[in-house]
């Protein structure tokens, strides 16, 4: 095999005042043609910086201070901006993480692909090539898609367009920067297969950046693990996945949710929450003036027992969040009963709802957006109890206790949310919800915005708190592996309906519905069982 890319002793400086002097330090790696190299690490580990350095897309504030990058036998670090530009898109191409924002919203997708051809002097071929490329990434009706603007396409479709664009000039190197992180599991699996298939057909070298060891197991030939700007371990995929040596790699792999259901204590039927015949439909002005009705929730009955955790699992748009929001009346369903300890919450007035607000609390997905940036953490935690009539001194004492419970320092009370990391903020969000001493906690994707090791910590904390406080929990997630780890029972949702509901080990061990099976099959790296690792290393 031919050596496509060599990075030797690369060091990229960070601006003064950053938390470490170098974004990337003394980094060496190589990639052969026809090989997939996965660069794995958590956020801030320098993996995207490495990719951008190779592409010549580093922002001005981040200078390369040492090292060599050789691409197709040519030293590319010293090349002029124009020489680099002429290679970008033609010899090396890149696919980004966020398909929703990576395409120009005002340009038809066909034109955007054609532009890649035009700027490299092949505009004359665009008319024929664009539909061909769209077909190559398995998009139906390429001619119609080419004429659409990005907003008409789903996330998965947009990511296919991005891949088609990257492949337009048949580059030798494809850099994929977390290309499936923002996608649903089934879509993720399709995109992974697509990249693998195209890569083997064209003999490209692929540098695939990810934080997910499941994805690594699915696609990698070789793996490089990064931490704090350095590569701590690199080698063939089978070796890294099954016999990791570096403690950081071992910790990362140990944090991967294993997807196996743990044995659960039996739950006595003592309904806290019952959903019966709840329906929510959205009306929307459709194309050509016709009204379109979207049934967001229908046929989604379930019962949640005291002390139980029920997982609502499904892909985006399946209605899982809407269903949870119906419970706390962030969404008002037009039909059905929402029984909380036997009282129907749905017909209650705003006033009538008040006593229940305290008893049902919610933790949200985005730890960055769910805390008011202008309020101190202490105030955020105490606001709820104080508005419900708890004296300030008592609320403060409770806030202190809760911060200890979620393993944060008491000094957090006087600080602002931006001073905390994502995981810490999610703990603050949890403390805020618990401050009301709720009986029922609704967690809407509480860990999906977090790095895998932080995710493991938060999940552990949730499990512990639930046990200690005897909480009943409705846990919403798109990640089946996470659901397996924390839920007693699982409800699988699709297009507004629950298609399967059962004990976790049953749903995983013997899925009845075909959609559940499809979801399980889409878990990346399902054929890889993470090795049992002792924490001794």
């Amino acid at each position: 095999m031919t050596r496509l890319l060599t990075v030797e002793n690369l060091t990229v400086a960070l601006p003064a005042g950053a938390d470490r002097p170098h974004a990337v330090e003394d980094l060496s790696l190589h990639l052969d043609a026809g090989e997939i190299l996965c660069v794995v690490g958590e956020s801030g580990s320098g993996k995207s910086i490495t990719a951008n350095t190779v592409m010549g897309l580093l922002p001005k504030g981040l200078p390369v201070t040492a090292g060599r990058i050789t691409f197709e036998g040519e030293e590319i670090l010293g090349l002029s901006a124009e020489a680099l530009r002429s290679r970008r898109g033609r010899r090396m191409a890149m696919v980004f993480q966020e398909p929703m924002t990576a395409l120009n919203p005002l340009m038809k997708v066909g034109d955007q692909i054609a532009e890649a051809l035009q700027v490299h002097g092949q505009g004359h071929a665009a008319r024929a090539r664009v539909p061909e490329l769209l077909a190559a990434v398995n998009l139906p009706d390429p001619a119609a898609i080419a004429r659409m603007h990005p907003f008409r396409l789903s996330g998965g479709q947009r990511q296919r367009v991005m891949i088609a664009m990257a492949l337009a000039l048949e580059p030798a190197l494809l850099i994929a920067d977390e290309p499936t992180t923002a996608l649903d599991v089934t879509t993720q699996m399709q995109i992974l297969r697509l990249i693998r298939e195209i890569q083997s057909r064209k003999g490209m070298g692929v540098m695939f950046i990810t934080h997910d060891f499941g994805v690594v197991a699915e696609i990698a030939d070789r793996v490089a693990v990064m931490q704090h700007g350095r590569i701590v371990e690199q080698g063939p995929a089978s070796e890294i996945l099954n016999a990791p040596r570096h403690p950081y790699t071992r910790a990362l792999i140990a944090a991967v949710p294993h997807g196996a259901a743990a044995a659960r204590a039996a739950i006595r039927p003592a309904p806290v929450l019952e959903m019966k015949g709840v329906q929510k439909t959205y009306q929307r002005g459709g194309w050509f003036g016709a009204r379109a009705t979207v049934r967001a929730i229908h046929d989604a009955d379930f019962t949640l027992n005291k002390g139980e955790t029920l997982g609502l699992v499904g892909e985006s748009g399946s209605g899982k969040s809407t269903l949870a929001r119906c419970v706390v009346r962030l969404v008002e369903p037009e039909q059905g009963e929402i029984l909380f300890h036997g009282t129907d919450l749905r017909p209650l007035s705003r006033q009538g709802w008040l006593p229940y607000r305290r008893r049902i609390q919610m933790v949200f997905q985005d730890p960055y957006a769910s805390l008011n940036p202008r309020r101190k953490v202490g105030e955020a935690i105490m606001e709820g109890p104080i508005t419900h009539g708890v004296p300030r001194a008592e609320a403060l004492a409770r806030a202190r206790e809760l911060l200890r419970l979620v393993r944060l320092d008491e000094s957090a009370l006087e600080r602002y949310p931006h001073e905390f990391s994502g995981g810490q903020r999610q703990r603050i969000g949890l403390a805020r919800a618990l401050a009301m001493q709720p009986e029922l906690l609704i967690a809407d994707e509480p860990v999906s915005a977090l790095d895998v090791s932080v995710q493991a910590q938060v999940l552990e904390l949730l499990a512990e708190i639930r046990q200690r406080l005897g909480l009943t929990m409705l846990f919403i997630t798109h990640d089946l592996r996470v659901a397996a780890q924390i839920c007693d029972r699982i409800a699988v949702m699709r297009r507004g309906a629950i298609v399967e509901l059962g004990a976790t080990d049953q749903v995983f061990g013997a899925p009845k519905h075909e959609y559940t099976r499809a979801l399980l099959d889409s878990i990346p790296g399902r054929e890889w069982t993470p090795p049992e690792l002792s924490e001794s290393a």
């Binding site: 919203p105 532009e115 700027v119």
Partner: protein, 328 residues
Amino acid sequence: MGASKLPGYLLGRVVKAAIVVLAIVVCNFFLIHAAPGDPASIIAGQSGAADAKFLEQLRAQFGLDQPLHVQLWLYLKGVLTLDLGFSHRQQMPVSTLLWDRLPATLLLTGAAFLFAVGLGVTMGALAARRVGTWGDSVITVLALAFYATPLFWVGLMLVLLFSVTLEWLPSFGMASVGVEMSGLEAVLDVGRHLILPGLTLGLFYVAVYARLTRATMLEVADQDFVKTARAKGVPEGRILRRHILRNALLPVITFAGIQAGQLVGGSILVETVFAWPGIGRLAFEALLARDYQVLMGVFFCTSVMVVLFNLVTDLLYALVDPRVEASA
């Protein structure tokens, strides 16, 4: 699919616009009637023979002795047939007066508008491209100066410099008086008269556009799709034009719609300073002379303009940004 939905979108907007104009007409009617003194007493006062009988006669002649709702009905009926009443002071139908003056105002505001958008967006784009350099600083400071200077002062200073001291440009009117000109010569003459009032009217907006364009371009430049364009090897100049500027123009269009409406009203001051024979000066004269019929006509005319410009903006927006139409 864009074309197939556009007529429906347009129809909806036109209906809304018509309702808005109707509401404005009704408001104007009551506003004018809230002012002290009716046209009859003014005419009588001016004619010098103000006995009660003459007044009665005048009131009956103009329908002013009718109840208010009947008067409103009559006025609305008139507006619908584009009959805006009769100016007794000028002895002319109001609509004729407006038609005479409208072209001059449209010429002035149109020129100021194009000047403001053209220069403002160019300045903003240049500043954004060279952000942080001295070029950026010069443009930003210049824009701030335009922004902070009062309109009438700019007008006076321009007249002082270009008309009085340098004697390069005429300072009042729309065309040279007492000179026979034809064809190109006449057009150039109007052009020369247009420069000073156009500059005065447009400078403030140049500053607004420059700042708006600079800010949005810097914002758009950080977005992911710009990075995508860079990653596929698009040259910087083309990225700026096709990806950054086009997206950054969306808020500019929104603001341009607002400005276009305001320009017609804002031209009152400039038309008065530069003796420009447009709607603005007509309004000013009508106000001084308490010529209420004309004033109501001017209000009607300017509000129709504002609504019209808004309509054009909406339409333009739908053409530039395909997402708007889909969500409308």
